[in-house]
């Protein structure tokens, strides 16, 4: 009912550009996607209209700033294959509508890749290579070049002068607020580009992985889906269904991270996951600097 047959990239930006100046109505060449990689049947849903008849299932818990208003999106269900919309949900603008900063996403992605990295590359120095204590031949008179050891870096089989030395750690921590901002930007960009879907619960009728693939295919969600639930206990059916699937993954909300969100095309959140994320991510906007590590108890820690 809300499908508008508009091609994903081309027409939208052309409408935007044509209002400011005429003539150029195509995307720049580095942003055009070849047609075999674009799913034309996937139409971008416009945001829910303000006069929609669907009930609002969840309002924002935290206070929304006076000059902003909550973003709204639909709530779907996974019980049936066809998409029946259950209602609307209010999302806090300071989590789901923050301005996009690709450089922060880049920083957080690099950090996620590198802070765990320990490079075990190790080479032996001339003193560690077996042998080479004795002078190979006398200094003068043999007609050969002068050498002190057969394991010097000039020699074949000798030590490496400036090679990697032992396990090296690439550990560093980005400030906590930068990492939090990265999560917020990733969530906002998923919502803005229509790759975010909110679902009421993760109860599916069968543990069959084919059911999930059919559902995703039917609804034209995308190639890879990341499903997020709030608590640790996830329903059996969905765990079994996604166990054998490579492109569909379920994680608890504490495991949400920028790398996984960017790697998977679509993000599916439950209502509890939305509540959990808003609670955790909004606290950092108005907290004191830590007096002692956050691992120890605080009265206002969510």
């Amino acid at each position: 009912m809300f499908r508008i047959s508009v091609a994903v990239c081309g027409r939208g930006i052309s409408k935007m550009l044509s209002s400011s100046f005429s003539g150029e109505n195509a995307l720049p060449s580095n942003l055009r996607i070849p047609s075999n990689l674009v799913d034309h049947a996937r139409a971008k849903r416009p945001p829910p209209p303000s006069d929609s008849s669907l009930p609002v299932l969840r309002r924002c818990d935290a206070a929304v700033p006076v000059h902003l208003s909550p973003v709204q999106t639909w709530v779907e269900t996974l019980e049936r294959r066809d998409s029946k919309l259950l209602g609307l949900v209010d999302l806090h603008p300071d989590v789901f509508a923050v301005p996009t900063r690709i450089d922060i996403l880049h920083e957080v992605e690099l950090w996620q890749r590198n802070f765990k990295r320990i490079s075990h590359a190790h080479t032996k120095v001339r003193s560690e290579v077996r042998g080479g204590g004795r002078k190979p031949w006398r200094q003068k008179g043999s007609g050969k070049a002068r050498h002190g050891s057969i394991r010097s870096p000039i020699w074949r089989g000798g030590g490496v002068s400036h090679g990697p030395r032992g396990p090296t750690s690439f550990y560093y921590m980005l400030p906590m607020k930068v990492r939090v901002q990265g999560l917020k930007i990733a969530l906002s960009s998923k919502l803005a580009q229509d790759y975010l879907h909110v679902v009421d619960t993760l109860n599916i009728p069968t543990p069959d992985p084919q059911y999930l693939m059919d559902l995703i295919r039917y609804r034209h969600w995308g190639e890879s889906v990341l499903i997020v639930d709030a608590g640790e206990e996830l329903p059996e059916n969905i765990l079994q269904a996604t166990e054998s699937l490579k492109t569909v993954n379920v994680i608890p909300a504490i495991g949400l991270n920028v790398h996984s969100m960017l790697k998977h095309e679509v993000l599916v959140l439950t209502l509890e996951a939305v509540k959990f994320l808003e609670n955790k991510l909004l606290w950092h906007d108005e907290r004191f600097t830590p007096l002692y590590p956050f691992k120890l108890p605080y009265t206002d820690l969510p």
Partner: protein, 296 residues
């Protein structure tokens, strides 16, 4: 407010029509990543690799910092004098202006309806105390005495006369108390201390040099005679020219007169008790010797 900004602004509108943000689309802001200078490679990095021409500079044999070629260096030519003698043993008191105190109360970070302690100040992030760096607490400084208008029961480690006058003029109470370094660490960060499972220590009395300060009524010391303190309040009011308000008729009279025992660190908790935060229990000692020690 009738004017509502669209959350995210135009950036999110434009984003709707751009390709999906993926791992392949991320890049840093142009100009943030400057390429590292590779020594010993290429036309500009090679040749002498930025080391100069011959001599100690190129050969890495320069003398130590401060060496002046044999001339008596500056740091040895200037004679010593006891400016910094024993600097690391001197007590430091972090200043707290009345301006800052009023700011904290106005923003709601400090609650004036409860006694204000160093713990409350640190919890509201009003001051930063480092007990390990010879900080012995906080000193109340008179800057902002003109605008200060809050009735508080405040306990600090030192206070200037103007600050005492400003607080008493508004109907509050100032007390100066001494905390030895271990008690100060416990007072500033109570949660890590309680989690360590140690019993609350008893506060030590001040050393010889600070006893005259804390027994003096003019400084509102906690070891001073209460009658002398009352006389000092009246004298200060006369000196600064304000009418001393009668606190005994106040509704918050009970809170304003709450004072700590000289051996007590926290209100409501005695030395010797162990606080268990996970099970929300307090354990008190029963052995005679321990009771004798903690009550002395």
């Amino acid at each position: 407010m009738s004017f509502t900004k669209k959350p995210g602004g135009k950036a999110l509108d434009i984003l709707q029509n751009l390709p999906r943000i993926t791992l392949a689309n991320l890049r840093p802001e142009p100009g943030t990543k400057k390429a590292e200078k590779k020594r010993g490679r290429g036309q500009h990095g090679g040749n002498r690799s930025g080391r100069g021409h011959k001599g100690e500079r190129q050969r890495g044999n320069r003398p130590r910092l401060g060496f002046e070629g044999g001339q008596t260096p500056f740091y040895l030519a200037i004679p010593k004098y006891g400016y910094n003698e024993g600097h690391s043993r001197r007590a430091q008191y972090q200043p707290l202006t009345l301006n800052r105190l009023q700011y904290l109360i106005d923003l709601g970070r400090i609650d004036p309806t409860q006694p204000i302690d160093l713990t409350q100040l640190v919890n509201g992030r009003g001051v930063t105390i480092q007990p390990q760096k010879r900080d012995y607490g906080v000193q109340l400084v008179g800057e902002g005495a003109g605008i200060f208008a809050a009735k508080v029961n405040i306990e600090v480690q030192m206070a200037s006369e103007e600050a005492i006058a400003a607080i008493e003029r508004n109907g509050g109470i100032v007390t100066t108390g001494f905390y030895d370094p271990r008690s100060l660490a416990v007072l500033c960060k109570p949660v890590p201390f309680f989690l360590s499972g140690q019993p609350i220590p008893k506060r030590m009395l001040p050393g010889e040099d600070m006893v005259p300060y804390y027994t003096d009524a003019a400084n509102r010391g906690y070891l001073a005679d209460p009658e002398k303190i009352q006389k000092a309040r009246i004298a200060l009011a006369q000196k600064y020219g304000y009418v001393l308000p009668d606190i005994s008729k106040d509704e918050l009279f009970h809170m304003l007169f709450m004072r700590k025992d000289p051996r007590q660190i926290f209100f409501g908790l005695s030395p010797g008790w162990v606080v268990n935060m996970t099970e929300k229990k307090i354990l008190k000692p029963t052995d005679d010797k321990l009771l004798q020690y903690y009550n002395s």
